[in-house]
Amino acid sequence: MGANTAVARPRGPAGPASGEAPAPGRARRAPDDRKAAWLFLAPALLGFALFYAYPTVRGVYYSLTDYNLLAAPNFTGAENYQQLVTDDQFWNALKVTGYYVVVNIGSQTLLALLLAALMHRLTRSVVLRAMLLVPWLVPNVTVGLLWMWLLDTNLGFVNHILNTLGLGTTGFLSSPDWAMPSIAAVNAWAYTGYTALLLYAGMVQIPQYLYESASLDGAGEIRMFTRITLPLLRPVLALVLVVSLIGSFQIFDTIAVTTQGGPVGATRVIYFYIYEQAFTYFHMGYASAVAVVLALILGVLTAVQMRLLRASRSDLA
């Protein structure tokens, strides 16, 4: 999110086009405006150049070298990318990340939709809305640590309860089958409230009279939800999906704190793999190549989603 706004801001007003179309009656002052505009934009531009543009260029360059942090990089051409194609761990990381994204986004969005609908139709309590945000306000590392203790196989509270109910013990974070769904659930717990609020904000924009006339026509809550709420929520839903999908792909901290990629690579997601390559094995060149590929994947996904977003813009206008 932060990256998006920082990048987007300098583009609109700073582009030459906006200077060409001055407001009526202010034509003569246009050059001054432009100067002032640049002045105001300078800090953001500088930050963008220093912290985004420059590292991006460097990253792409490193991806073509054998840079290992400790020695000067040598240009190796596409070697890193060739290695990538045959790297089982890379493909596994992509697969595992995809699995995570599907489970996480799926459960999180459905739950959030349900919560938002309940809030919209049942209560308007501000306290309740604030409570929903609490998990989202907890730093991810804390969330990871908290759930690591709760979900621990032998000492955790969750297994203690399951045991008391006679349901046996589950290695939520230590079994290869459970580790990824558990982490997806933990992050869904952390983000559902936030997503629900975004969706709720979208629902509030839907005119009340639609519901009133629908209920006069004898429609039930479920019918109103599928026939009114969902279709009119589509633009907001699309936006929420774009944002949370990118965020979901970047899952890192929960895994770094809890499973560290284990057991046997079951949670070695792409971000964690990049991190391992860069800062544990010092393969900065290779890590950059993986990062570039991930950026491309995210770019394509975002483009696809943006199209969907645009296509469904004006249902309410």
Partner: protein
């Protein structure tokens, strides 16, 4: 489209950028009056007070040199060090470890101490045997030993007593991969199900275990220092063609495979938790919570079991004797000087002091770790005794003839670790046969060293 790509890329790369931004410390370490401040890094918070003692004593002898100690947790230590090295802001002296050392030595980041050792005639014979070699490669010396650790059995005294096992029974345990020897018998007895039956009882219910007899460690990289490495070593396993600095690993050795299969057998019997049901919180936590009776522990973790916060009564016993005798891993740390330090002589003075009897005796008094000089060992034991702790099994292991083995030291150790760890885990989980998992991993590892 292009801007989107850049955006996504930028978001990604800020991870790398922010990691290196942390390393923006000042480098103005020579004051107007000529006082030099040396940066010294270590990771173990338990050892921090001991080295603060040393720093104070050193400053007294050398008023013109100040030591600034920075302690960083293990998980961040090497990343921080690397980013500092890259940005030319590295600490003058840091505590070094054998897995990471080769990367920095090969990368030209560590000062060769051999010329200085020769110039100042430093006596290296006083160190615990085996501790100086890991730091020497091709005639270059990348550090002076500072401490060592060995491994022993740690057990819950009450639990074993209840099962009729006393300390004397644990002094001469035997082990072999076929029937597990007396070690397996003790482990079986120490395992208790929820109805109070131990592992030798024919009615023992392995599906409802209240206390596990033995806790394996599965996150032990390519070394197995806290478990499989020891059992494999007493079974006659050798990691490498030559250690240190071998070029061919032997992870496909049947002796190691037998050992891992014995571990699987322990799990099948219900004496140890399966890998899919291990605790993410770690073995120490499980033992402290009274959910397990025994494991292997390194001397660096003594205080986790004996400190005032320990919630159970633990004691230590020697490792079992296997077909190839009784052997404990011995591992040590060293102090390394950054090749780029502007204060070479001062740093060397400090490293010499760290390796001297004066500093090592100060460390000994704190009773947190065994200093590298054998002359300080007895003092450490005395300091432990003063706290009411008998930890002589660790020093006995170090002193025994052929009683120790070196953990593997090669290039690319940080990459080899996860490959072997994943292979062992997949074998224990039954995803692949032990033989196949280890053979594949061994081929991968040796390909890295070609």
């Amino acid at each position: 489209m292009r801007s989107l790509r850049v955006r996504a890329g930028a978001a990604l790369l800020c991870l790398a950028a922010s990691a290196s931004l942390v390393s923006c410390g000042g480098s103005d370490d020579t004051a107007a009056d000529g006082t030099v401040t040396l940066d010294y890094w270590l990771w173990d918070d338990r050892q921090l007070p001991a080295y603060e003692d040393c720093a104070a004593a050193f400053h007294e002898d050398n008023p013109k040199i100040k030591i600034k100690i920075t302690q960083t947790a293990w998980l961040q230590y090497w990343q921080n060090l690397t980013t500092q090295l890259v940005s030319g802001e590295a600490p003058d002296v840091w505590v070094n470890q054998t897995t990471y050392s080769p990367t920095y030595a090969t990368g030209g980041q560590i000062l060769d101490l051999q010329p200085l050792v020769e110039r100042d005639d430093v006596d290296l014979s006083g160190y615990q045997p085996g501790l100086t070699e890991p730091w020497v490669k091709d005639g270059k010396r990348y550090g002076l030993p500072k401490d060592w650790d060995t491994v022993a059995v740690v057990y819950n005294t009450d639990m074993l007593e209840k099962q009729g096992v006393d300390a004397a029974d644990l002094q001469n345990l035997t082990w072999n991969p076929t029937d597990g020897g007396t070690m397996e018998e003790v482990v079986a007895r120490a395992t208790v199900d929820t109805k109070g039956r131990n592992g030798l009882d024919p009615d023992f219910d392995k599906k409802h275990v209240a206390v596990y007899g033995y806790l394996p460690e599965w996150e032990d990289a390519s070394q197995g220092q806290n478990g499989w490495g020891e059992f494999a070593a007493i079974n006659g396993f050798q990691y490498l063609d030559k250690n240190p600095w071998g070029t061919e690993y032997r992870f496909d050795d049947p002796k190691l495979i037998e050992t891992l299969d014995w571990y699987k057998h322990l799990i099948d019997k219900g004496y140890a938790p399966s890998l899919a049901q291990k605790s993410e919180l770690g073995n120490t936590e499980l033992l402290s919570a009274g959910k397990a009776a025994m494991t292997l522990a390194g001397s660096y973790s003594i205080s986790s079991y004996t400190g005032q916060n320990a919630r159970q009564d633990f004691d230590f016993a020697p490792l079992p004797t296997g077909p190839a005798g009784r052997k404990s891993a011995i591992n040590g740390l060293s102090d390394a000087i950054w090749a780029g330090t502007p204060h070479k002589e001062e740093a060397w003075k400090w490293v010499k002091f760290l390796g001297s009897a004066e500093c090592q005796d100060l460390v000994a008094e704190r009773a947190v770790v065994f200093p590298a000089l054998t002359s300080s060992t007895e003092k450490t034991l005395a300091a432990y005794r003063a706290k009411g702790e008998d930890v002589s099994v660790f020093t006995d292991a170090a002193a025994a003839k052929d009683g120790t083995f070196l953990l593997p030291i090669t290039e690319r150790g940080t990459e080899i670790g996860p490959i072997v760890q994943d292979a062992i885990q997949s074998a224990i989980l039954g995803q692949t046969s032990t033989e196949e998992a280890m053979r594949t991993a061994n081929d991968k590892v040796n390909a890295l060293l070609e």
